[in-house]
């Protein structure tokens, strides 16, 4: 039986998630025996056209060319997996979605007219159908391995859907919010990192995005009781690496609207 053909694509991103594939030091050689990596610009000069059995897509859509390119990727791919917060939620660069992008460009470039970019940074699923989303900024490489192995075995990938809180309990990490009053997005954030930040004495900053059915309003009310400035909470939600995900965005927008209402009265 021929090996499934794998392609790796990059859009607006830092390259960290696709790099995770090369960071599977103990598994890479065995994996390459089972999967034929036929398109992976960062790792190989072998460049084969589609169709592909599996496409891993990193990065968000920020240019008109990329909005076209992702359609071709979708046509070429049997199973399309987005890897990481940029591809899944628009990434940190989605902060432009609340701002005047022309002003952003003028801030950064002396001659902004040379730069072609869209006013928004949007996740892949806003453009094409996505078969599986792998969360994280960056993704967890063991989860990437699980996705690839499950596809090889012909089953759905199994990745956790619970919140970071549950993982802290499992690790035996003392709650930083309860014990130290440290603001933490753990209660509304998807696990996948293994609850890293609390184990380093800091609050979670939400890099795996919202957990299933998060009660964000309850958390932000708790943050207020901890005397966290509302502007800080808004920055922590909308300004995070998954800030444009619907759950973080809507709570951030709600607080912002509330705040501007307060100011106008």
């Amino acid at each position: 039986m021929p090996r499934p053909r794998l392609a790796v694509f990059k859009f607006a991103s830092c390259d960290g998630c696709q790099l995770s594939l090369l960071s599977l030091e103990d598994e890479l050689a065995a994996l390459a025996d089972k999967i034929d990596i036929v398109f992976f610009l960062e790792a190989s000069s072998r460049v084969e056209p589609g169709p592909y059995d599996i496409a891993l897509v990193e990065g968000s859509i920020t240019t008109a060319d990329d909005a076209q390119r992702i359609r071709q990727v979708r046509r070429d791919a049997e199973f399309l997996v987005t890897i990481g917060a940029c591809a899944t939620a628009g990434g940190i660069q989605a902060l432009r979605n609340w701002a005047d992008c022309d002003e952003f460009l003028a801030t950064v470039y002396a001659s902004p007219q040379y730069i072609q970019t869209l006013a928004t940074s949007t996740p892949i699923a806003s453009h094409v159908a996505v078969d599986f989303e792998l969360r994280g900024c960056p993704i967890n490489k063991q989860q990437l391995l699980e996705v690839l192995q499950s596809l090889l075995a012909g089953r759905r990938p199994r990745t956790p859907v619970h919140s970071v809180c549950l993982e802290c309990k499992r690790r035996g990490t003392v709650c930083v919010m309860v014990a130290q009053g440290t603001p933490c997005l753990g209660p509304i954030t998807h696990d996948g990192c293994g609850a890293l930040c609390p184990s380093f004495d800091r609050g979670c900053y939400g890099c795996f995005g919202p957990s299933q059915q998060p009660n964000a309003a309850s958390l932000t009310a708790q943050l207020r009781l901890l005397h966290v400035d509302t502007r800080t909470t808004i920055r922590g939600l909308r300004g995070s690496f998954n800030g444009f995900s619907p759950e973080f965005r809507s709570e951030g927008d709600r607080l912002a609207a509330e705040q501007s209402g307060d100011q106008s009265t």
Binding site: D26, E42, S45, T107, S111, F200
Partner: protein, 432 residues
């Protein structure tokens, strides 16, 4: 009638990020050379404005998934300069340790996964692995211990969570550090063997009169701090970077290009520049190895950057091992500070070369302006200049062969294009 040849490489491979190469020849003479960076800009400097200074190291890490620690280091040093924080020696040592992990991880990725296949005639490291399985596995293992160090000290290898302004969120316990010692002893041996292997590759003959620029420190092979020094006698404080170097924008690139402000000349940053300027300060085994493998001093052949990188891996292993063996947790993991208005700049040595950051913040500790100059932006015009000089020596080949030879030259720089396209100046000060 004159004859014009255009050679295009639409997507460079085995480099980090997205770029194309456009070469044009007329009657065998070079008409133009363009490294066309089309990587979509992510506008970091714009959205850093209005963020709390404590958020900066987590945000700037996301500029690059291959060298996030470099971005964290340059940003915390710049912010600490603005806040007037003096870092205790034991925390500086821990930061150097973390940075060693990244030098190993990043350099080993380039040497073994991206660059070595060029010298052995393969499309990729995976293709190379069939005939060089031991060398391939050795490269992965060298990289793995660097990643393990990043995971232990930083929480994870990509976008570590433990770096903070003033130090670390939590210093590791001794029992977390100890298991790394045998790994690093083994990694050091492997890195030495790998350097000998790499130094035996066949290198194109190509020398340039580079103006090397790197940090220089009186007591060590500079990594986290020092003066900016150049092979032409340049010696300035890191904070004076912008008076000496200039970034220009060109229509064919989303990255700015660095040049010397006084002469308009290109300059070279990165492992070759560091090794040429600071070779005597390498750790003992690395220094002896550089002599043993016959690396000339100074070395002006960019294709030999792979040897320089391999020697720096050995150096990083030695420096890290010494810290790991004697590790005692620091008295405090983080120096307390008061937020205040101010401005600060710093440069550190990212794996790819000098990385300069400057921030200005208001009295609430929110960022008012940021300027980040990554190494690949600085090398970009040097790369184009090299290509223009190199092309005549390969001009008698087919278009495909010329494209391949030029791509190899670009790859020798280990350009990090994702980094280069995300910076540029913030000149406007605006409160959100």
């Amino acid at each position: 009638m004159s004859q014009r040849r255009t050679i295009r490489v639409e997507a460079l491979t085995r480099v980090e990020g997205e770029a194309a190469l456009h070469l044009q020849l007329r009657d065998g003479a070079v008409e133009h050379v363009r490294l066309n960076i089309y990587e979509p800009p992510r506008l970091f400097e714009a959205f850093l404005r209005g963020r709390a200074l404590e958020d900066v190291p987590d945000i700037t890490a996301r500029i690059c998934g291959i060298c996030p620690v470099a971005y964290q280091m340059s940003s915390v040093h710049a912010l600490e300069a603005a806040l007037g924080i003096e870092m205790p020696e034991e925390l500086q040592v821990l930061r150097r340790l973390l940075y060693c992990g990244e030098w190993i991880e990043s350099h080993a990725l380039h040497v073994h996964m991206l660059h070595a296949p060029d010298f052995l005639g393969y499309d990729s490291a995976l293709a190379m692995a069939k005939e060089y399985p031991l060398e391939f596995q050795r490269g992965l293992e060298i990289r793995k211990y660097g990643n393990q160090l990043l995971e232990t000290l930083g929480g994870r290898a990509i976008h570590p969570v433990n770096v903070s302004v003033g130090g670390f969120h939590r210093a590791p316990r001794r029992d977390e550090i100890e298991p790394l010692v045998p790994s690093f002893q083994r990694g050091l041996e492997l890195a030495i063997a790998a350097t000998r292997w790499v130094a035996g590759f066949d290198f194109p003959t190509f020398e340039r009169p580079y103006d090397f620029v790197a940090l220089e420190h009186p007591d060590e092979y500079a990594m986290c701090a020092g003066f900016i020094s150049g092979s032409d006698g340049l010696h300035i404080a890191a904070a004076d970077f912008e008076q000496t170097f200039h970034e220009r924008q060109v229509p064919h690139s989303t990255a700015l290009q660095g040049v010397r402000r006084d002469t308009g000349r290109t300059y070279l940053v990165g492992p070759l520049a560091r090794l040429n300027l600071n070779r005597a300060q390498l750790a003992p085994l690395a220094r002896r190895l550089a002599d043993d493998v016959g690396l000339e001093h100074p070395c002006r052949n960019i294709f030999k950057s792979i040897v320089a990188r391999s020697i720096e891996i050995v150096h990083a292993y030695e420096v890290a091992l010494a810290v790991l063996q004697d590790y005692r947790p620091p008295k405090v993991s983080r120096v307390p500070y008061q937020r205040r208005a101010g401005e600060g700049a710093a440069a550190t040595e990212a794996p790819r070369g000098l990385l300069y950051h400057r921030y200005r913040m208001d009295d609430e500790g929110l960022i008012a302006a940021a300027n980040i100059v990554p190494p690949t932006s600085q090398n970009q015009s040097q790369i184009e200049d090299d290509l223009a000089q190199y092309l005549p020596s390969v001009v008698d080949s087919s278009n495909a062969e010329i494209a391949d030879a030029c791509e190899r030259l670009v790859r020798s720089y280990d350009p990090c294009i994702s980094c280069s396209a995300h910076f540029l100046k913030v000149t406007t000060v605006r409160q959100p």
